[in-house]
């Protein structure tokens, strides 16, 4: 198994930390992982993205130009990364902030209203965990136990009390993933 994934959105949406929690979940599941961020000034307010690769083999390039999956959280990222999903691959997006829906017909499209679900759960900061849950429904690359362990490893101890809320968000995302059909 090798999953090559890009998560792309605005800085502040928790893109990098979502990638880190997923990567740590992979480590806890015994996989090889790389987490490669865009870094620099664009992290603040501009677009942010991270490439995460999970594999049961040694990982070659951490930098890739074709993805098995793209998680798209803003329009700029849709414009940039929709075309970089491999045929037969997966694109998951949050429709908030998307002005043009994806048009590819050769990939699997999913959406998750993470913004609203996080608000309903009472904490907009767990938006990224809702999206992670939705992703894990579409691509079950790690199980929920590994995610829990990944959260324990990646969150500082003082935030461990928030792990149940995070897991609830993952669960909600998992349940509320919607499949999309392009016309």
């Amino acid at each position: 198994m090798t999953e090559e994934l890009i998560i792309a959105g605005f800085g502040g949406q928790g893109v990098l930390s979502m990638g880190k929690i997923l990567a740590y979940s992979g480590v806890m599941a015994g996989q090889e992982v790389t987490w490669f961020p865009s870094y620099g000034p664009e992290m603040r307010g501009g677009t942010a993205n991270v490439t995460v690769i999970l594999s049961d083999k040694r990982i070659s390039s951490p930098i890739i130009n074709e993805f098995d999956t793209a998680i798209i959280l803003n329009q700029q990222s849709m414009d940039k990364f929709e075309k970089m999903v491999k045929p037969g691959g997966t694109l998951l997006y949050d429709p908030n902030g998307i002005t043009r829906n994806p048009e590819r017909t050769d990939i699997n499209l999913f959406k998750i209203d993470g913004t609203k679900i996080a608000a309903d759960l009472g904490n907009v900061k767990i938006f990224n965990m809702v999206v992670l849950g939705a992703y894990l429904k579409a691509k079950p690359v790690v199980n929920i136990d590994s995610v829990e362990k990944g959260l324990q490893q990646s969150l500082p101890a003082r935030h461990h009390k928030l792990i149940p809320l995070n897991l609830a968000a993952v669960q909600k995302g998992y349940e509320l993933l919607e499949s999309v059909t392009t016309l």
Partner: protein
């Protein structure tokens, strides 16, 4: 073994330093490697192992603090990125001239000048040729994974002390900024004053003892004949490195007709390019130099006798290609040596590499 963690390359440098019994780190912030000192300061190793961490007023000061501490037999290091390494060039030359061990980490960014903060390998020449003034070389280790960022700190110190010569870990912004699974090393104790006296008493300037002459750490010698003798001794040291401490990795080279040569993050990209090329029916392998100085000349010379050509893949305008050409030429071979690369902080993609292979080497 130590714990299994998911960490950034830069963070791992800091953790590996603490664990390998490093006595001191002196640094100055610069993107994309500031996490090294940030991690050290957050870890407060002075409470745990007694390691000193100091934010200096400049890279010039950092490297000279390293000089001062290294000359007392302590295991010390610094880290920076390209423009900062240029500032350190003077001090590095003095350290090499005074024959002192230390580790210098360069998390390269694109240049010249202030350049960019994105990853680059444009400091290859600067690193393998010495970088400062005078005839000297650094031991240059090129990590290609976060695990190697961990492993090469200890290895860098071992080689530095073996040769009494500075080691450089030549990383880049990609290896520094990315996170991977890493098996941390076990803790090694710092050396005691008695151990330093016993092992390095012949040169360490840690206070003149009654049982020895005073030690002087210097690169100065006014007598040209003595200075030439010093230089000859340095050259013998570099020849010994070439004979004993070359490191490289080969991937799918056994039946390869074409060899990609790449180091650091470029070698990771090439690993994928090899897989893609093989799927397309091209017999391609990868040679990854791990020590850039001493350079794996011999294996390239041996390969040159049986392969149809080489292509270096570098994040610069073509620097390592010169060492590959020399290695091929020294073996009396004339197979083509091509280059493909990107500059200015752009990382080539595996498919670009395969395309270049087809256009420059295999198809051409």
């Amino acid at each position: 073994m130590g714990e299994l963690k998911l960490m950034k390359g830069n963070e791992v440098i800091a953790e590996a330093a603490i664990r390998c019994g490093c006595d001191g780190y002196f640094g100055y912030p610069i993107t994309p490697q500031s996490e090294v000192m940030e991690t050290l300061m957050a870890r407060e190793p002075w409470n745990e192992t007694g390691m000193v961490v100091l934010q200096a007023e400049s890279e010039v000061a950092s490297i000279n603090m390293v000089y001062g501490a290294a000359a007392t037999g302590k295991k010390v290091m610094t880290s920076s990125s390209s423009p900062g390494i240029s500032l350190m060039a003077e001090g590095i030359s003095y350290i090499a001239g005074a024959e002192l061990p230390c580790v210098i980490v360069n998390v390269q960014r694109g240049g010249p000048g202030l350049g960019t903060i994105q990853p680059s390998q444009a400091d290859y020449f600067q690193s393998v040729k010495g970088g400062g003034h005078g005839d000297y070389h650094l031991i240059v280790l090129a990590p290609a994974s976060v695990q190697e960022m961990n492993d090469f700190v200890d290895l860098g110190f071992q080689l530095a002390f073996k040769y009494r010569n500075p080691s450089m870990i030549l990383a880049d912004g990609a290896i520094g900024q990315m996170m991977e699974k890493v098996q941390l090393s076990d803790f090694k104790p710092r050396m005691t004053a008695e151990e330093i006296d016993a092992k390095y008493g012949s040169w360490a300037t840690n206070g003149k003892k009654p049982n020895r002459e005073r030690n002087i750490a210097t690169s100065l010698e006014m007598d040209s004949a003595k200075m030439e003798a010093n230089n000859k001794r340095f050259q013998e040291k570099y020849a010994k490195m070439q004979a004993e401490d070359v490191l490289y990795e080969t991937i799918r080279c056994d039946d390869a007709e074409y060899i990609l040569v790449a180091f650091g993050v470029s070698s990771r990209i090439c690993q994928k390019a090899v897989d893609i090329a093989r799927e397309k029916g091209m017999k391609v392998g990868l040679l990854r130099p791990i020590t850039l100085f001493p350079f794996p000349k011999q294996i390239i010379g041996e390969m040159a006798k049986r392969v149809k050509g080489f292509m270096t893949v570098e994040m610069n305008a073509g620097q390592m290609i010169e060492d590959v050409q020399l290695s091929v030429g020294c073996a009396g071979c004339a197979v083509p040596v091509k280059y493909f690369g990107r500059m200015g902080g752009i990382i080539p993609t595996p498919s670009e590499v395969v395309q270049a292979l087809e256009q420059k080497l295999i198809g051409g």
